[in-house]
Amino acid sequence: MKDLWEIYDELLALVSQNSVVDECLIGLHWTLVKSGGIGLAMTPLEGEHKVTLSGKIIGMSVRELAECVKSWNYFEAAIGLSAINSVINTKKNVENITNQPLVKQKYINGFDYFNKMLKGKKVAVIGHFPGIEKMSEFCKLSILERIQQHGDYPDSACEYVLPKQDFVFITASTLENKTLPRILELCSKSFTILLGPSTPLAPVLFNYGINALVGNVVIDSAKSKQIVAEGGTSVDLRPYISTVILLKDNKKSSSIV
């Protein structure tokens, strides 16, 4: 196995030492950090219920807070990932990467974008995303989920299930619990898509076997903060965030907003 921390260090290298944290909110479903922009990461469902930095985060260096992504305390890792995303998943940064203006349009589901490629293929989804069951109508679908719902594989099945897949959709919360590096090793022959609001829109991730990034940029910061604070889910956030898809194979990464 490669160095676990290499992928994290590459992301951290994108975060400058100069900016500071303006706001931090650990909501029921989403964790939010505001610095240059607003970054989101999934609030973990498990792990030690303790955040040692509480009361000290505002005013911290974003880079220092971002280092928490390497913490084995998943709550702190979520704060760290949000800090990274607050720098990377900004309108300005994404427009620079895609060379396209980011304009808010109707919500686009990341799964729907790849549907045509998936017909008849073996497809695994890591994380039980909303409404993905219907994909089994046109592909051989396997859902891996730590907290299983009916028909899901347990996450421990990934060692056996993933190497046989044509396509693998991976929730970016795997960055928080440190399972992403190993999952990517298991998916070395698959087309892999990292997705969800926790996804850093950083093309550097393509160097680790990821073929596509489906992430989000917060467009309406006030409303997004309110929804996170009031226990909202990604479904509630949809009208106030833009979906961005970056593809590895394009010389110019494409964006869909």
Binding site: L25, L28, P130, A229, E230, G231, G232, T233, D236
Partner: protein, 227 residues
């Protein structure tokens, strides 16, 4: 009003009725400025500047798995700001634990509003104090701690008091504390024997407070409740 179980929430209902009566028509002008449902606590701020807190009952959310299933847990996300307090206070009787937590936090802010207006005449308020600064638990007393209230458990241990711990999730207790854990089948017996009951406010959310109090020995003049 939804999902009412008044027989289990008599104290909440009486508190709500009392606060509503004291504030009178002024309650209709009060709105909620901000709601934060955190992973540990839920906090709200009213339009009059007062705030209220309640424990966030994360473990009580049905199927707390992922966005699709827990979306139902807090259906009003993004729509709470600016609403009248009365649209939240009815939720103190809800069976949705998160809505209930927000409702209790609003009720606590309304209670604080009553205090600031000097509407409570029969109580003495002490600010920035620990209840046990004013109560000495005798060495021979038996205390039941309801909920893993660690500072009090440490104090009882330090003072070598006799005590038992009631906790719905005993996994939160350390090995040493488990020796004082009261098994569910022994709960009634322990409460009825208690000289002192230290009760977490979380019992208001899971509707166990009324039952705990009903099982305690009210008639004993030396049975003290600290909640």
């Amino acid at each position: 009003m939804n999902d009412i179980e008044h027989e289990k929430a008599v104290l909440l209902k009486e508190t709500y009725d009392s606060v509503k009566f004291m504030l009178g028509e002024s309650i209709e002008k009060l709105t909620v400025d901000r709601v934060v449902i955190g992973i540990f606590f839920t906090g709200i701020k009213l339009s009059n500047g007062t705030g209220g807190l309640c424990y966030t009952p994360v473990k009580m959310i049905p199927q707390a798995v992922c966005c699709p299933s827990s979306a139902k847990a807090m259906p009003n996300s993004g729509k709470m700001r600016g609403k009248n307090v009365l649209s939240f206070t009815e939720d103190i009787f809800s069976q949705n634990p998160l809505k209930k937590a927000v409702g209790i936090a609003v009720l606590n802010a309304l209670s604080e509003t009553c205090r600031q207006k000097n509407l409570y005449k029969d109580y003495k308020y002490v600010i920035d104090a620990d209840p046990l600064d004013y109560i000495t638990i005798p060495n021979d007393a038996y205390t039941v701690v309801v909920g893993a209230l660690l500072p009090y458990i440490k104090m009882l241990k330090k003072n070598r008091n006799s005590y038992g711990i009631l906790e719905l999730d005993p996994r939160t207790l350390k090995d040493e504390e488990m020796s004082h854990y009261v098994k569910p089948e022994k709960t009634e017996d322990a409460i009825s024997k208690a000289d002192y009951l230290l009760i977490t406010g979380t019992t208001l959310i899971n509707d166990t407070l009324d039952e705990i109090l009903s099982k305690s020995n009210y008639s004993r003049t030396n049975c003290k409740f600290i909640s």
